[in-house]
């Protein structure tokens, strides 16, 4: 936020810290005046992603091009859509109305180009119901830091953690990346793209301040939270626009590449599995001394063994596996049931990623199933085959979710490194902005983390 904006905020009596300085906030606000900060396009083209932005009003969608056509519905201001075709003053779009995807016509002037929306978690045939809303104020990052970031309902932890790591190492790099144009109300974000031969060339992406929201139009659905600075949401939106949509960056990526794209300097990766425990602290201390941004990724799953979790049930054996955290579920394709006395053969689950349940198979198995969400396991052996005791059955499986509840280490997640604590522990930052991990030992780092990248981000102001 610039000085003028700070002064305005103080005069307006907005929220302040104890010392009276304003807390940077951003609020979803409807744009109703003549000024139109939305990114409009003269002639929407087929396949273009965007939103119907009515400047504070619902947008009417009809079945045909003319005003006599049947009304399909009035959708929320900012409803995401995809262009099918445009015809003069009207545009045909595919969009979500209620629990259906429909095709209808709207005024072409309502269409604004926006990054593509993600699919619904509940029903992949639907786009998420995250209407875009305008976010005012907080135009320039002031002393940006990793803790400003707050990942939302998008699976781009690699990018949010990269932003946090870069901000921790060089607030100036974040400040240099964003330029606000008062005349247009839009932001231009500078990224870098690596070319063959290793040079980095700048890439400039311009976005408006409309952000996807969920339920509360003052609460960004993706990066950002009410009360937190706006810069992470603007960077994320520009990154999504560059790469092809929120749906594209929501598929994941690497911290190595994202940090380089933010800093203009190639990252260096390392596999934690190649480090000895004694190497870990010196590595992080050295990187901190050099002022490097540090990104680290946690492995997808943890492993668990359950001794005697099954009891006799009907013709077979059943039981519910105990998980170490309520979020945790069995990872498909990883479970095996072994008879410690070898009376029956090993049973293995045949599930694949994305399955909700699966059968168990093995030479002695007649029927068997595992429900991944509830961790309920049932197994029935062929006639004449059974363990001596139900307690002889041991179950081994992998789980995803919270890998270490005591230290709050979340699987398949990215973190930004913050500092060495007491000369012996490592403190990471969770880009969710919540569920912050406790300091961990070098041994715990090696146990849980499988990705590590550093980046020598410039500390001083860089020319745009």
């Amino acid at each position: 936020m610039g000085n003028a904006a700070l002064a305005d905020r103080m005069r307006s009596g907005g929220p302040t810290f104890d010392d009276g300085s304003p807390i940077p906030t951003h609020q979803g606000s409807e744009v109703t005046g003549s000024f139109d900060p939305a990114n409009r396009v003269a002639r929407p083209s087929a396949g273009q992603k965007g939103a119907l932005i009515g400047k504070g009003s619902e947008v009417l969608v009809r079945s045909g091009k003319t005003s006599r056509s049947r009304e399909l519905g009035r959708v929320a201001d900012g409803t995401p859509c995809e262009v099918i075709q445009s015809d003069g003053a009207v545009v045909q779009v595919r969009l979500r109305i209620g629990q259906k995807m429909v095709v209808g016509w709207a005024e072409a002037t309502a269409f604004s180009s926006q990054p593509g929306m993600i699919k619904s978690e509940d029903d992949p045939k639907l786009t998420e119901d995250f209407p875009y809303a305008f976010f005012g104020g907080d135009h320039d990052p002031t002393a940006p830091k990793g803790a400003d970031t707050a990942q939302g309902a998008l699976g781009d932890c690699f990018f949010i953690a990269s932003m946090a790591a870069i901000a921790n190492a060089s607030p100036q790099a974040i400040a240099d990346a964003i330029t606000f144009d008062k005349a247009t109300g839009k932001y231009t974000v500078r990224f870098f793209e690596e070319a063959r031969g290793g040079s980095m060339k700048p890439v400039y992406i311009t976005v408006d301040a409309y952000l996807p929201t969920s339920g509360n139009r003052a609460d960004p659905a993706f990066a950002g939270d009410p009360g937190k600075p706006l810069w992470p949401a603007i960077l994320e939106k520009a990154y999504a626009q560059w790469k092809g949509g929120y749906d594209v960056i929501g598929e994941g990526g690497t911290g190595d590449q994202a940090m380089a794209e933010l800093s203009g300097v190639r990252s260096r990766s390392k596999n934690p599995a190649s480090m000895r425990e004694a190497d870990v602290l010196p590595y992080f201390e050295g990187a901190m001394r050099e002022g490097l941004a540090i990104y680290a990724g946690v492995r997808n799953t943890g492993e668990a063994s359950a001794q005697a979790p099954l009891s006799a049930s009907g013709k077979g054996y059943a039981g519910r596996l105990k998980q170490i955290h309520s979020w945790n579920e069995v990872e498909p394709g990883t479970l095996s049931v072994t008879d410690l006395k070898g009376k029956v053969g090993v049973a293995r689950d045949e599930g694949e990623e994305g399955d909700k349940s699966s059968a168990l198979a093995g030479r002695d198995v007649a029927n068997g199933s595992i429900d991944y969400k509830s961790s309920q396991l049932n197994i029935e052996y062929k006639n004449g085959k059974k363990p001596e005791q139900p307690s002889d059955l041991s179950v081994h499986f992998e789980y995803h979710g919270m890998l270490d509840p005591a230290k709050t280490i979340i699987g398949n997640h990215a973190y930004a490194f913050e500092r060495v604590v007491d000369g012996k522990m490592l403190q990471f930052y969770n880009p969710w902005g919540s569920y912050q991990p406790k300091p961990i030992t070098p041994a715990e780092f090696l146990r849980y983390f499988d990705a590590l990248s550093t980046n020598a981000v410039p500390k001083t102001k860089t020319a745009r």
Binding site: K243, G253, S269, S274, N300, T301
Partner: protein, 216 residues
């Protein structure tokens, strides 16, 4: 793990893989499983003992879920992999083989078994550098992104082969049993050249397509 291999080092099964590679060193892996992820930042040749053309490799590098089975992160050097199975990896990019250094990786007669990777590179992932695979089997999907340049010669890819950003792939002979799926960003596009009777179904993104060339 040991620190560095001598110029030529034979490792029996169960012996720890070295932490680093002596420039120009040769690791010979005896048949059987070798535990640990191999992180390579200098020139190195790793070969399965007794490897021969047309014979299934029996020397296995098993990562046991700790990063990529082989991670090539050096600059201006070459890693050669011959007659190996790479198994059990989990990584952001390339579970069996991850190439993110500006180096060259050559693999011949290798099997890359599917691990788990965040973006789809369950077997092989490349971000930069040059990758040349010959007579290899990729038992799952692969992801080539960033600015990596790859040539797959007489290889079988059993899953989808994803080409993203500015990656380039020349696919000569061989087969992709899933799709070759191309998608660029708004500033660059991947490129694909199919030749030598390669069997592949190509799926190109409508808004951000790649360049596809088919030659006899």
């Amino acid at each position: 793990m040991t620190d560095r291999p001598e110029k030529r080092l034979r490792l029996p099964p169960g012996a720890p893989l070295p932490l680093g590679a002596a420039p120009g060193g040769i690791l010979v892996l005896a048949p059987g499983e070798h535990e640990g992820a191999l992180f390579v930042e200098a020139a190195l040749r790793v070969e399965g003992e007794g490897h021969a053309p047309g014979v299934a490799p029996t020397a296995v590098i098993h990562a046991h879920g700790r990063g990529a089975a082989v991670h090539a992160a050096g600059d201006d050097c070459t890693l050669q992999l011959v007659g190996l199975v790479l198994r059990g990896g989990r990584a952001e990019l390339g579970a069996a083989l991850c190439l993110d250094g500006a180096m060259r990786v050559e693999a011949e007669g290798c099997v890359f078994e599917a691990g788990r990777a965040d973006q789809g590179g369950e077997t092989v992932g490349g971000l930069r550098g040059a990758l040349h695979l010959r007579g290899c089997r990729l038992a799952g999907g692969a992801l080539l992104t960033g600015i990596v340049d790859a040539t797959f010669e007489d290889c079988v890819v059993e899953g989808d082969l994803l080409l993203r950003e500015g990656a380039g792939l020349t696919f000569v002979g061989g087969e992709v049993r899933g799709h070759i799926d191309l998608r660029g960003s708004t500033t660059r596009a991947p490129s694909l050249k199919l030749s030598g009777g390669a069997k592949a179904k190509v799926r190109n993104h409508s808004a951000q397509p790649g360049a596809v060339e088919e030659a006899p």
